[in-house]
């Protein structure tokens, strides 16, 4: 075991960032020229979108339930318990829907991509693909990025809806609030900017999940142990980046819409 060298570490981080940027840039560039792998994109959409539906519905729903419970406790102190709908809807649409869906899909798909591509890398299937005349970035990375960005957008909408629905259910059954009033305050509180903010985030998260998952997969070394390491790193890094990106987008949107 050699001594830890900050200089070597910093260099390796910079090299990774550069390598990642090149990969992501090339994958995006590949979208604008032929050949495009449309069938692979649909397969990925099915596995990412349909496959993640159960966890996204469940997490969205229960997050909405918890939000309603917690919000009601605090709001009661101010005699504003009728505002529960507003709080649930705003939190879900602007923040929790996008972030939790991103984290869930990252846990499921960034890891899946890293391990699938990582296994292909260590068993030389990636080299075989290149030897057979196919660019792996075009065939494997670009379809995953398109599919994840596209599906995460809709999964986020579903999560927002399930969360608001879950909040309403709790509000009506446990808190004995008026159902229509819940939805009315929820609906009235959301403005254009909130929706734009909530729907911009998954575009970034989707890109992060797919590009980071593929990057760690394609740079896997060291056999099956390396695949395990790549998988873990893909989830950790993509999760952190999703939250970081969430912060930046929020800040940016506050700058634009003032809320």
């Amino acid at each position: 075991m050699s001594l830890f060298s900050p200089e070597a570490y910093a260099k390796s981080v910079v090299a990774s960032v550069q390598e990642y940027s090149l990969l992501a840039g090339r994958a995006v560039g590949d979208l604008f020229s032929r050949p495009r792998y449309i069938a692979d994109t649909f397969t990925q959409m099915d596995s990412i979108g349909v496959g993640s539906l159960p966890i996204v519905v469940l997490t969205g729903f229960f997050t909405g339930c918890v939000l309603a419970l917690q919000a009601a406790v605090s709001l009661k102190e101010f005699g504003a318990v009728n505002m529960t709908g507003r709080l649930v809807a705003l939190s879900m649409v602007k923040e929790l829907g996008p972030v939790l869906t991103g984290l869930m899909v990252s846990g499921r798909n960034a890891s899946g991509m890293a391990s699938e591509l990582g296994s292909m890398k260590v068993s030389e299937q990636i080299d075989a693909m290149r030897a057979l005349g196919t660019d792996p970035i075009r065939k494997l990375v670009a379809p995953r990025i398109v599919a994840t960005v596209f599906m995460l957008f809709f999964l986020t909408i579903i999560s927002d809806a399930c969360g608001t629905g879950g909040g309403a259910l709790i509000a009506v059954t446990l808190l004995h609030l008026n159902g229509p009033a819940f939805f009315h305050t929820a609906y009235m509180s959301l403005v254009y900017g909130d929706v734009i903010e909530g729907l911009t985030k998954p575009l970034f998260s989707g890109f992060i999940i797919a590009s980071i998952g593929c990057y760690y997969g394609l740079t896997t070394t060291g056999g099956t142990r390396g695949v395990g390491r790549a998988t873990t790193q893909a989830v950790v890094v993509s999760s952190v980046l999703i939250i970081l990106c969430d912060f930046l987008v929020t800040q940016f949107m506050i700058g634009i819409f003032g809320r």
Partner: protein, 279 residues
């Protein structure tokens, strides 16, 4: 794929007489920590079968990946079909690979595809009509005597069968150059002989240029001393102890070339390391 349709069906037909198919010119490559190949120069003529020998870890697979542009050398120049790899664009390298068949050390079949789709991979990429694909896949699988496994998945095959599927996948487009990385590695002697028979058949029936890595000396000498007899459709020993004139050897050790020449020169070599290695 428009690019694939515009490439000529053969990369070697228009080459001037005497142009080597593969040429390495003072090539060196290293990975992060150590040098793997140092100052490698050799060339492979058209129709030649070049057997690459050497102890494990001496850089044979690395050399083969360099030849297909899968790795870039740190120094030196590699030419394939008379064109320098370093002067080609990424797209041209992919187009060049359409004329090269490669059999990987661990077969490297696509786990997610069955045998038929693995073998047909290139035809699918080139958008060959579906009805032709099936016939050509059956033909390629018949060559490796594996028609019955057509709908199996790689995980259901034995090591020898995977290797044969991998050969079928490499030869289906009738490439002008075939790179075999340890096609008999880790196989029992009988299966190894079957694979070597396939290589001899491919060499003598299609006279394709090839590079073949092996660390089993008897495989190398079987290749040098046998030929494919088309009348009996079997591999026969060349009579009178004659040798196949197109089979040549390259021996590597610790990243250097220690021998480059014909079978007879190899067996008559007086180099002490080489003698010990051939024992």
């Amino acid at each position: 794929m428009a690019a694939a349709l515009t490439v000529p069906s053969s990369a070697v037909d228009d080459l001037p007489e005497g142009t080597p198919i593969v040429a390495f010119d003072h090539v060196s490559i290293g990975f992060e920590t150590h040098k793997v190949l140092t100052d490698i120069s050799f060339s492979v003529a058209r129709g030649e079968t070049r057997i690459i020998l050497g102890p494990a870890g001496c850089g044979k697979s690395t050399l083969m990946k360099l030849a297909n542009g899968l790795l870039d050398p740190d120094a030196g120049e590699i030419s394939i079909f008379g064109r320098k790899l370093s002067s080609m664009s990424e797209r041209e390298v992919f187009a060049m690979r359409a004329h090269v068949g490669m059999v990987f050390q661990e077969s490297a079949l696509f786990d997610s595809l069955d045998v038929e789709d693995n073998v047909a991979y290139r035809l699918h990429e080139d958008k060959v009509p579906e009805d032709q694909i099936h016939d050509r896949v059956v033909e390629a699988l018949r060559f490796v005597e594996l028609e019955k496994a057509i709908s199996k998945f790689p995980s259901e095959l034995s090591g020898g069968m995977r290797r044969r599927v991998s050969i079928a996948r490499a030869i289906i487009t009738k490439p002008d150059l075939i790179l075999y990385d340890s096609p008999t590695g880790g196989l029992d002697p009988i299966t190894s002989t079957t694979i070597i028979e396939l290589v001899v058949k491919q060499r003598d029936v299609s006279s394709t240029t090839s590079l073949l890595i092996t660390h089993r000396l008897q495989d190398a000498f079987t290749l040098a001393t046998h030929r494919w007899d088309t009348t009996t459709n079997s591999m026969q020993k060349i009579p009178n102890g004659d040798l196949d004139p197109n089979t040549k050897f390259l021996v590597l050790n610790e990243g250097h070339i220690v021998f480059d020449g014909t079978t007879r020169e190899l067996t008559h070599s007086t180099d002490p390391w080489l003698k010990a290695y051939l024992e």
